[in-house]
């Protein structure tokens, strides 16, 4: 990963990725050092090994990996880099765990502007510094023009769980309360608003954020009365509730009126013919908790900046059909289903 040699600096303003940046030679070393090591700067990377060693306390560990292929790469409120950091931190946090370290792999398309790559790396660096979860190892590959959509990032992470906590998706029980940490659909709408084919004006910015701080506070107060937590990313709230219902063999009844959602998100979804319940989030979590702990958990969530709008949106119920049903704000009822097929604007 490191090559010590005298070399010129990268032209971060006008330069572009070429195939030599992925060939493993001098150019690769220059790219890694001038962009990634600089942006992620920490002791492990400075050591310049192909891997990083670290000590962990005796505890149950959590490991996760995810790949990020968002289009467009830059959107209001974030970019693919901050998304890759937050997304992986959140996957660890949803186990109730404390994230410790991240890795980052890049697949970059020939011709990609170095300035954009630098912006992405800097966003990752500051996201991981703010979250206190360093990126300690990585990899870079360059593919020919046309073989990737700009840049793909793959991040893995590890964390540790405190003793006695075991959150599993099959743990929801009839009667359990369902709480969401804030308004839904912000990320999906922010990204869609910048898609070339859609391109509409909105003030909505992505909600992408690292949730492990909020989770730590929740675990502190509610501990193992938390049955499970999930972050409603792709597929939105609807997909998460259906997944939990099927894994736990319960149904859910939720109240449309209780679900926090910004009027701008409702308006954008209306325009595109989408259901906000299916739209992606990147900084929200859903928690299923024993009913007697719901109020206490809600209070601690609301006291945290990332859970200020937390709301109790419904309950699990015995239902071997595993339906997620919703009382509509108009007084009717309907199913809240997974997304079938691709989510597309309607014809007329």
């Amino acid at each position: 990963m490191t090559v010590k040699a005298k070399r010129s600096r990268l032209d971060l303003r006008n330069g572009r990725i070429d195939l030599s940046h992925g060939a493993g030679g001098c150019a690769t070393g220059q790219l890694v050092e001038d962009i990634f090591h600089k942006a992620f700067d920490n002791d492990w990377l400075r050591a310049g090994n192909d891997q990083s060693a670290f000590a962990v306390p005796a505890a149950r560990m959590v490991m996760t990996t995810d790949s990020y292929v968002v289009s467009p790469l830059f959107f209001p409120g974030g970019n693919i880099g901050s998304l890759a950091v937050y997304g992986t931190i959140n996957d660890i946090a949803m186990a109730g765990a404390r994230p410790l370290y991240l890795s980052a792999g890049f697949i970059i398309e020939e011709g990609f502007p170095l300035a954009d790559l630098n912006r992405i790396a800097e966003a990752m660096g500051s996201a991981s510094r703010e979250a206190g979860v360093p990126i300690i190892t990585g990899d870079t590959k360059v593919v020919e023009r046309g073989k990737a959509d700009g840049v793909f990032i793959s991040t893995s992470g590890i964390g540790i769980i405190r003793a006695g906590l075991d959150l599993r998706s099959d743990a929801a029980r009839p009667g359990d309360a369902v709480i969401i940490s804030g308004s839904i659909g912000d990320h999906g709408v922010a990204v869609m608003s910048k898609r070339e084919s859609l391109d509409f004006d909105t003030d909505i910015i992505s909600d992408c954020a690292a949730l492990h701080g909020l989770v730590a506070a929740m675990v502190e107060v509610a501990g193992s009365s938390i049955r499970l937590m999930r972050d409603p990313t792709r597929g939105g709230l609807a997909a998460i509730l259906n997944e939990i219902a099927n894994a736990s063999n319960v149904g859910f009844r939720i109240e449309e009126e209780a679900i926090p959602i910004k009027p701008e998100v409702v308006a954008a979804c209306e325009l595109l013919g989408l259901d906000p319940l299916n739209v992606a989030n990147e900084g929200k979590l859903v928690v299923v908790v024993a009913p007697e702990f719901a109020d206490a958990l809600l209070a601690v969530m609301r006291a945290h900046p990332l859970g200020a709008e937390a709301a109790l949106i419904g309950h699990a119920e015995a239902d071997d059909r595993c339906f997620v049903q919703m009382a509509t704000s108009l007084g009717g009822s309907r199913i809240v289903d997974w997304l079938w097929g691709e989510q597309l604007p309607r014809i007329c």
């Binding site: 009382a327 108009l330 007084g331 009717g332 199913i335 309607r346 014809i347 007329c348």
Partner: protein, 385 residues
């Protein structure tokens, strides 16, 4: 969201539901067909069925453009799209409709056909402009609502002298379909269907106005209320229908006055008339061939007419014999009457087009309402009364 929230006001909606409850005659039943998929969608999406008394039944009609397109037309489009020089542009939902030989546009695309999903007719024009070496065909479908944009696209193509752009027209006409449904409601071989009134289409009527429905209301003694797609529009229009039935009248009423006039949009109608002419007959999925029910490009625009330019033929294609879409589109059966519903046929693996678009009766019932037994939710959901 101004002008939308008003039409989703829970208090008003519940209030009108109470008025319906008070107005209905308990000794009789009311069967209303919602012509448009947009109404079907709104009723399912907002759970409006739960707000209606049990003797008011809504029947899904044929008003989803995807559902009524015979699969032979899509087969023909696939035939065209696999030619190496052709780029076929289409709206998203159409991609998933199951066609002959286990194909769909989506599958044809993954097998290498150049099929692109567009959001508007203008997107396909831009593709034609940007790629002059390809023959770009716009797969046009829809009722009167989507016809003016297709007409405009043709006008732009002519103005820009785009020699590589053409239109595969599948535009169909609402009044002709309503007439066929009402004509056959008592005598159809699949069984009689009781229709006491119709929710007329909203977007379609913004173009053609309410006038074309007057002769239908008169001829068949059925009240027709042109209704918007917001929940308050729909429920209020049902109240208007109940009142007409109670009074024994059969008028065309316009609930959607904020967008619809008696004569419609003259400019849009002119645009359509300039570009299109009536086809003698057109096959509708589930309804059969209906005379004068669809539009083709006028012969003077033959070079922009994909059917002529590429000598397309529409193969006679058979729907899956177990699929009940035909009976559902006529209002004779409910989605749950189909043996395939929810078993082999789901939105993930649709067997018929009614399971494809969210405005299709089967998809709407599956996605939003499949917990209902006998068309009603558990009593615990009833919050009106």
């Amino acid at each position: 969201m101004k002008y939308i929230d008003e039409y989703r006001d829970a208090k008003l909606v519940k209030d009108i539901a109470r008025q319906i409850e008070a107005a209905v005659d308990p000794a009789r039943s009311y069967h209303f067909m919602e012509f448009c998929g947009g109404h079907t969608y709104a009723i399912s999406r907002y759970g409006l069925e739960d707000l209606l008394p049990s003797n008011v039944q809504m029947i899904h009609g044929p008003g989803c453009p995807i559902c009524v397109l015979p699969i032979g037309r899509i087969d023909a489009a696939i035939e065209l799209a696999i030619r190496p020089e052709i780029t076929l542009c289409t709206y998203g939902d159409l991609m998933r409709v199951p066609c002959s030989n286990g194909l769909s546009l989506l599958k044809a695309r993954s097998a290498g056909a150049d099929i692109r999903m567009v959001y508007s007719t203008l997107d396909s024009l831009s593709i034609a402009e940007a790629e002059p070496n390809r023959q770009v065909v716009f797969f046009a479908i829809g009722f009167e609502t989507t016809t003016p944009p297709t007409a405009l696209a043709l006008r732009f193509a002519i103005a820009k002298d785009l020699a590589n752009f053409s239109i595969f027209s599948n535009h169909v006409l609402t009044p002709a379909a309503i007439k066929t449904i009402l004509e056959n409601s008592d005598v159809h071989p699949l069984g009689p269907i009781k229709i006491d009134g119709l929710l007329g289409p909203a977007h379609v009527s913004t173009v053609i106005g309410t006038q074309p429905f007057e002769v239908l209301a008169e001829e068949f003694n059925k009240p027709i209320v042109v209704a918007g797609f917001e929940p308050l529009d729909v429920i209020y229009s049902i109240l208007m229908l109940v009142r007409q039935v109670n009074d024994g009248v059969h008028k065309v009423e316009n609930q959607y006055i904020r967008a619809v006039t008696t004569l419609g949009n003259e400019k849009a109608k002119c645009e359509i008339a300039n570009v299109f002419e009536l086809r003698e007959s057109f096959e509708w999925r589930g309804l059969g061939a209906i005379p004068h029910s669809a539009l083709g490009l006028r012969s003077k625009y033959a070079k922009y007419d994909a059917e002529k330019r590429f000598e397309m033929v529409t193969p006679a294609a058979q729907d899956n014999p177990a699929c009940e879409c035909g009976a559902i589109l006529r209002g004779i059966k409910k989605p749950s009457d189909c043996k395939l519903f929810g078993k082999v046929c789901t939105p993930d693996s649709p067997m018929g087009s009614c399971m494809v678009s969210s405005e299709g009766a089967c998809a709407a019932h599956w996605i939003y309402g499949r917990f209902r037994r006998q068309g009603k939710a558990d009593e615990s959901w009833r919050t009106v009364a």
